[in-house]
Point group: none
Chain length 210, copies 4
């Protein structure tokens, strides 16, 4: 009865949300935090300004939504990994590869998001964690993997938190270099360069391919 109506409604809502996501992404890629104004977003998504606020509490929530959506595939991936059963180094390699490839696709988006998060006044990690669960779940996962790998002697002795932070810095920063045009690599080259560096640094032997 009202069933069809309900279904339609859900579809419509989802369409609006999707449109908002799509356009927010686009605007963030193009102009970063300042480039995405709620007005532009509404216009591009074809809704009134007020409607945006029916979907997102405020501008920050838009950003966090875009980020979570973007990280979703990685999140889904790591969630199905049995961290105790598998080899930490192998997990690390696979996830790293996935992250690099995924983020490469979004290389114009990520720096904008990072910047946007920075502009948020609530600067403490705890606050971020509340708002962008995905990012922190992924990072904690990587820390755990590094920890386990270190315990098994697969990685050199290093505080896993520091290690993860440096790895994270490496990936995000290099992404940013691509973004601003200081570097020009394709997805494969990027992934390989990151892996090479992360495993062996400047001096260690070359990794044996992607």
């Amino acid at each position: 009865m009202a069933r069809l109506y309900e279904e339609k409604k859900v579809v419509l809502e989802s369409m609006t949300r999707e449109a908002l996501f799509r356009e927010a992404r686009q605007l963030l890629e193009e102009g970063g935090w300042k480039g995405m104004t709620m007005e532009k977003l509404a216009n591009l998504a074809g809704v009134a300004k007020g409607t945006v606020y029916n979907y997102f509490k405020d501008k920050n929530e838009v950003i966090y939504f875009v980020m979570d959506r973007t990280l979703e595939p990685v999140l889904t991936y790591i969630r199905q990994i049995d961290i105790n059963a598998e080899n930490p180094e192998e997990i690390f390699t696979r996830v790293l590869k996935m992250i690099c490839e995924g983020l490469y696709e979004d290389r114009f988006l990520i720096p904008a998001i990072v910047r946007a998060i920075n502009e948020d006044e609530n600067q403490t990690p705890a606050d971020h964690e509340k708002k962008s669960i995905s990012l922190w779940e992924i990072r904690r996962f990587m820390q755990t993997v590094l920890q386990k790998g270190t315990n098994k002697g697969q990685f050199k002795k290093m505080d896993p938190q520091t290690a993860e932070a440096v790895v994270h810095a490496c990936i995000m920063g290099t992404l940013r270099e691509l973004f601003v045009g200081n570097l020009d690599l394709d997805s494969e080259e990027f992934t390989k360069a990151i892996a090479d560096f992360i495993y062996f640094g400047l001096k260690g032997r070359q990794s044996t391919g992607s």
Copy 2:
């Protein structure tokens, strides 16, 4: 005749510029890009708002000035190095150490500056180069050193531009992790962690100390 007047003028100007630098730095550290408004800057420096525009074309130029000033010691240092006479790896090690230690002192300033640069609409490296000469001179220097070291077989085979970008990403990103509080290292720990990672990555042997 007007000699003394000229001298006075130079001194006064220099004092104003210095005051502006000092306060801009302070404001950037405290509140980032958004925290530094031209009004606050003028008030703290003890001049009128309009006067700031006699010293800097716009807000961006203030940022670039702060950055250049901050990087000045490193710049001075590398300028006196004879890149052809000395051992590339040794140079790299020394400069890396200096950079790490210097930036650690400014760890609250750097992210603000990076953000500020990002907000500039002219995103091409060419534009940056025009505006923040120091940063690019340093980076180009490091590239050259890496190139030379690679040629000598001191570093593994890797495109020096990519290598430098990754190294840069590593340093700046880890700095940012310190800034946002995800990481808590003192200057020495930071410098060592960076060096360890940059030279040998996650798997290579530990470096033999700071």
Copy 3:
């Protein structure tokens, strides 16, 4: 047949209206005109926003409804008074007491309502009369009582309309002083102070108690 349905409907409607009254009152007390938003009201009353508009033409009507409901006891009381049979002064005293005591209970509500009425664009009394019948019926009643009392020589010669207005001003204004915290009296003190003042002013002899 449809009788039961009709009855049910009436009951349900009345329940909704009651819930809306209750929550509107609460919201007005807590946050005044601005504190009561149609959304909050709907949520608290457990209906959809649009439903509120089935019960009330607009926000103003909600306010008027709350006011009328609040004044209902006084209205009921005065309606059963035979203004021609009883002593005007005695009536006045009794009703004044009732009003003071009643309004004291609602001292956090009344200022909000007064403000709300003020914000209505239709400022003429005629309009108010249409919307809040209770208030004007009470005020007209008081005017008549004062008129009769004045005719009997119980009150000093004074235009009854003016007299009533001043009395009204006195009560409502003092209530407001309680509300904003400039004054701190309990119900009895308030009632007595008002009566004392209204009967004898600053100089006349003290009234002989509540």
Copy 4:
């Protein structure tokens, strides 16, 4: 030298401030708090929106400024009274008359201001005191006068704070009745009605004229 320039500047500033005051007053009279928008104010005063914010921190400050300006004559008047040398009752009578006459002129403004103050979130008297010094200085003055008069037996025994509050309520409330059109008195009638009531209430003997 720059003297003339300075003078001109002062004049111009004062002209802008004056224009802002005039138009703010007008807008408040016409439409109350909500009727006065910063945009309308700027347009009417012939300046840019931002300029208003060079003169007033925010909308509230505009209101407080208008209020203080409006109360200035009364304030000036009471400040030159030697409260210890003169007869309290006479002082009270004179000041009351002045207040009534002054406020009568502003009868369209006062309710708007009162409302505006109410809408301010900082509801405590202490906060008001900080912001609208005039009002509270006047009210404290009246309290003191009432206190002294009561001590001398000129007024009946009553807590001076309560007494002042009731008097205040009476004046402001009756003003409001004029404002909304429930009452129609000229200045003299208003002043006399208030005095009559305040001194002798409904029952006491009539005062002997203005």
